[in-house]
């Protein structure tokens, strides 16, 4: 997969990375209508389609930013397939409604399938990290949020009225706790096997 040629549609990924508003608008006008149509056909409305599209574009952005995502298939097929599968999963999970199209079939090509699966695995890992973060105590959440935001450890120590050394130690222990939970998680074990 690593040797596959980067597709011309990488320009859309780059547009997301550069937060290029004109190009992002183009992504919406070119690719959103099909997703909206699909969601509306399958028990959803425009509001649901709007959230779905936003969520998927954010996942793609996250993957591009942290994993240097390189698109090797057309953006249209890739984006639509992620939206479609995410929507079907949601329907199955929450509404148990009948879906008109057969679930999870119909990949246009192996190239699209690979790319979509990579993004889905990335998404699963992100969801796991987010869930585990929510399990942390309030102090941990606050220290991590501030230290990875735009605050220095000194500022955080001041703000939380703790010593600098303790703030630093606490930060690493909080990530240590997340590390332990992550490694114990079945989801993570399965992802590692892939």
């Amino acid at each position: 997969m690593g040797e596959s040629k980067v597709h011309n549609d990488q320009k859309y990924i780059d547009a997301l990375l550069q937060n290029d508003s004109m190009q992002i608008q183009e992504i919406y006008s070119k690719f959103a209508p099909k997703v909206i149509g699909y969601v509306k056909q399958n028990s959803g409305d425009e509001a649901a389609a709007k959230d779905l599209i936003q969520e998927v574009l954010l996942i793609i952005y996250d993957q591009a930013k942290t994993k240097n995502l390189k698109l090797t298939c057309p953006f249209d097929a890739y984006f639509f397939m992620i939206c479609k599968r995410k929507w079907l999963t949601r329907l199955k999970k929450y509404a148990k409604e009948r879906v008109t199209n057969e679930p999870f079939g119909g990949f246009e090509s192996e190239m699209v399938e690979d790319q979509v699966q990579q993004t889905e695995q990335f998404d699963t890992k992100m969801q796991l990290f987010k869930e585990l973060f929510q399990k942390l105590g309030d102090t941990c959440k606050e220290i991590l949020q501030l230290s990875f935001g735009s605050f220095s450890m000194e500022e955080i120590a001041n703000q939380l009225n703790i010593s600098y050394a303790y703030a630093r130690k606490k930060k690493s222990l909080c990530i240590g706790q997340l590390t332990k939970w992550t490694q114990e998680s079945q989801v993570y074990k399965q992802l590692k096997e892939l």
């Binding site: 425009e46 952005y61 990875f148 690493s172 990530i175 240590g176 332990k180």
Partner: protein
């Protein structure tokens, strides 16, 4: 994993280890698989949090939300732009009669069926013949993206060399229909409907849905009634006919 190890991880990531300790750390990464696995997970989490709480991501998210909202508002307002018509006094009596008529039809049509439910919205994959593969792909992509004008242009190019290709003709009709070029859509629907290809009943069905969309119930009815029980579209056609 003990406290000292997590602190060591953090010091390494922040570049706070002495040269000697850094080298020892990296050597241990190579030799101690458990240590390396713990570190890799720690680093993955650290990278995730760093990205998750970054200002850059939060700016991107805000911008995305704004663009998304604008796009959906425009889309909805396009569909719902109210037309303001000034009324003269004598218009009111006509309006009242129309209101009565509409009321009658609304009561008759209380079901939730709507032409929108039946409009063609599948992704297409055109059968490749000995045609220009690039144009074919362009047509397909444009169609699937809802860029119907582009799709039509590409269909026209393909039809020049293959004027009897019913598949292309059918999608071209759907594309004209989608951008409200009804005359052109109807001409193709008619041609296909009166032919004997695989698209005969499909064309009649979508022509019917199109008429229904245009509020021509009678025309829609005539078209949908031609669809035989053997056709894939029969059930949907019957459902619409009941509604009509």
């Amino acid at each position: 994993m003990d406290e000292a190890t997590t602190i060591l991880f953090e010091d390494y990531l922040e570049g706070l280890l002495s040269e000697e300790n850094r080298l020892a750390f990296e050597k241990r990464l190579e030799e101690d698989a458990e240590f390396a696995a713990n570190f890799n997970t720690y680093k993955a989490l650290s990278d995730h949090l760093s990205h998750q709480f970054s200002k850059e991501r939060s700016d991107f998210k805000t911008q995305l939300e704004n663009i998304g909202s604008t796009f959906f508002e425009e889309n909805t307002s396009k569909k719902q732009t109210p037309k303001v018509i000034r009324l003269k006094p004598w218009h009111y009596s006509i309006a009242a009669s129309i209101a009565l008529l509409i009321g009658f039809f609304v009561i008759q049509n209380m079901g939730s069926l709507d032409p929108e439910d039946y409009i063609f919205s599948e992704s297409i994959e055109i059968t490749e013949r000995s045609q220009d593969a690039t144009t074919l792909k362009d047509a397909e992509t444009a169609f699937n993206n809802g860029a119907y004008k582009d799709a039509i242009e590409n269909f026209d190019i393909l039809l020049e060399t293959d004027p009897e290709n019913v598949e292309l003709l059918f999608y071209k009709a759907i594309a004209h229909d989608a951008i409200l070029e009804y005359d052109k859509a109807d001409a193709i629907y008619n041609r296909l409907k009166n032919g004997s290809s695989l698209y005969k009943h499909k064309a009649a069905f979508y022509a019917g849905v199109s008429q229904w969309k245009r509020n021509n119930a009678l025309e829609a009815q005539k078209l949908l009634e031609t669809i035989p029980s053997s056709a894939d579209e029969y059930k949907d056609a019957q459902r619409i006919l009941k509604k009509l």
